[in-house]
């Protein structure tokens, strides 16, 4: 038991890495999702085609495969581009390879979520705003965005939950996150069940906390008496 307790700080550190990986990837995914949705909704056929290609391709590849591609192949890409630009090459760390891979994949899912949310906004509201003389940026900020948040939140929460669990695969390229650490420690001490069970429980906690967080956010953004939350 003491042996297990002595590992608590290390496991805590690993959990921190898992959570920061999830949050960082989610930020990238949100950015890519917004761009993707904008692309699909835009009038430009070119933008729509690129956004469409992005989502189709990325959703056809398993997360682990894309991660391995990014981590092993990505370094070569970075090196080649750096050489071409005459700069010193940067090291693509395991953490950032994970962020890129996971962010890319879930950006595709979020682009669908955002697009669906946007299309739920009654077009009459946008027409009304236009007829009031508001220009596009104002319309986006005052009319579209608040409602986008409301409508996208359930789907966004869902994607985040899946994303958090997806971060586990980054342990396979050696990142010392929660799964990676419990894996190493469990194997070294020859007690894999104990440590994987710890990882299991911690993930349940992370899921529970993020559920509560999103539930609170949905309540905050819901219209009084309107949305059944």
């Amino acid at each position: 038991m003491d042996a297990i307790l002595s590992y608590v700080p290390l496991i805590a550190k690993g959990t921190g890495i898992t959570v920061s990986l999830a949050v960082t990837s989610c930020l990238l995914a949100t950015l890519l999702g917004a761009l993707g949705a904008a692309g699909k909704l835009s009038d430009s056929r070119f933008a729509a085609a690129i956004a469409g290609a992005y989502t189709s391709i990325v959703r056809g590849i398993p997360d682990l495969v894309l991660l391995l591609l990014v981590y092993f192949g990505g370094q070569r890409l970075v090196n080649i581009s750096a050489q071409a630009l005459g700069l010193e090459s940067a090291d693509l760390s395991k953490f950032w390879a994970g962020v890129l891979a996971i962010g890319f994949i879930y950006g595709a899912y979020l682009s669908e979520t955002f697009r669906g949310a946007y299309m739920t906004i009654p077009p009459s509201q946008i027409e009304a705003a236009k007829s009031l003389g508001l220009h596009n940026l104002q319309i986006f900020w005052l009319v579209v965005l608040p409602q986008l948040m409301r409508f996208a939140l359930p789907g966004y929460a869902n994607v985040f939950q899946v994303l958090v669990k997806s971060t586990a695969v980054v342990s396979i390229i050696g990142l010392e996150d929660l799964v990676g650490l419990t894996n190493d420690i469990g194997k070294t001490l020859r007690q894999p069940f104990t440590f994987f069970a710890i990882a299991f429980v911690i993930f349940l906690c992370i899921t529970w906390v993020s559920q509560r967080l999103f539930y609170w956010m949905e309540r905050r953004y819901a219209l009084q008496g309107h949305d059944a939350v």
Partner: protein, 241 residues
């Protein structure tokens, strides 16, 4: 770019494709068998079992498939009593461990899908079935289930693709599925990415094939709802976990 090295190994890649498909579909099938009774039980709020089913669904949807697989493959083998029991005949083999983990995982997600579909069954359908004099069991079997399964089709299509993508975890516990073969080839020739790119392409082809199959199924079975099939693209459920 040394793809010839990868393509030389096409027999192993083909075998890998077979393992991937086999594992994926068996896990989906077993998961479905788990999910149908569990989903209906949850939707109809059956007394004693509901808390257990909810706990199972929460546990397996709230944790990564990788951790679940590790727990079963490495974790269970830690215990003497497991190694000496009848279960060891199965758990000894990476294949069965993977199937066990994947089935439980798929079962949890499918339970939620079926539960959602059953709960949104139009009351009118049930009422008319009951008024026709059908027994509760007949109502379930002849009306509720077919109707729910139709409604569940788009989300279940998602689940099929997720299971396919999730199956890559098998390569981490020594199974030579598509990714397993790709990693072996990469390691053998010290390639950086050729094997993985090949694997990615294979997964994309299979995914695309599955999406087409589900589009066809949705078109056939959801014709009455006139769902715009092009819109019913792969998107995650917008419901809660």
């Amino acid at each position: 770019m040394r793809f010839e090295l990868v393509l030389q190994h096409w027999p192993q890649l083909l075998l890998g494709v077979w393992y991937t498909l086999h594992l994926t579909f068996m896990a989906l099938a077993i998961g479905f068998c788990i999910a149908l009774p569990c989903g209906i039980a949850l939707a109809q709020k059956v007394k004693w079992v509901s808390p257990f089913i909810r706990a199972y669904v929460y546990a397996f949807r709230g944790t990564p498939l990788l951790v679940q697989t590790f727990l079963i493959y490495y974790g269970l083998s830690q215990f003497e009593f497991v190694r000496e029991s009848w279960a060891w005949y199965f758990l000894r083999d990476a294949w069965w461990c993977a199937l066990f983990a994947f089935s439980l995982n798929s079962g949890a997600y499918a339970t939620e899908i079926i539960r959602g579909a059953v709960e949104t069954t139009p009351k009118g359908e049930i009422e008319s079935a009951v008024s026709l004099g059908l027994s509760p069991l007949q109502v379930d079997w002849l009306v509720l289930i077919p109707s729910s399964l139709r409604r569940a089709l788009p989300q279940y299509g998602n689940e099929v693709v997720f299971m396919l993508h999730g199956s890559v975890v098998a390569s981490v516990i020594t199974i030579q599925d598509i990714l397993g073969v790709a990693r072996t080839i990469n390691a053998k020739y010290y390639l950086a990415y050729e094997g993985f790119l090949t694997a990615a392409v294979l997964y994309m082809i299979i995914t695309y094939g599955l999406i087409q199959v589900f589009r066809y199924l949705e078109f056939r079975y959801l014709k009455h709802l006139n769902i715009h099939v092009a819109e019913a693209d792969m998107h995650l459920a917008h419901g809660r976990i």
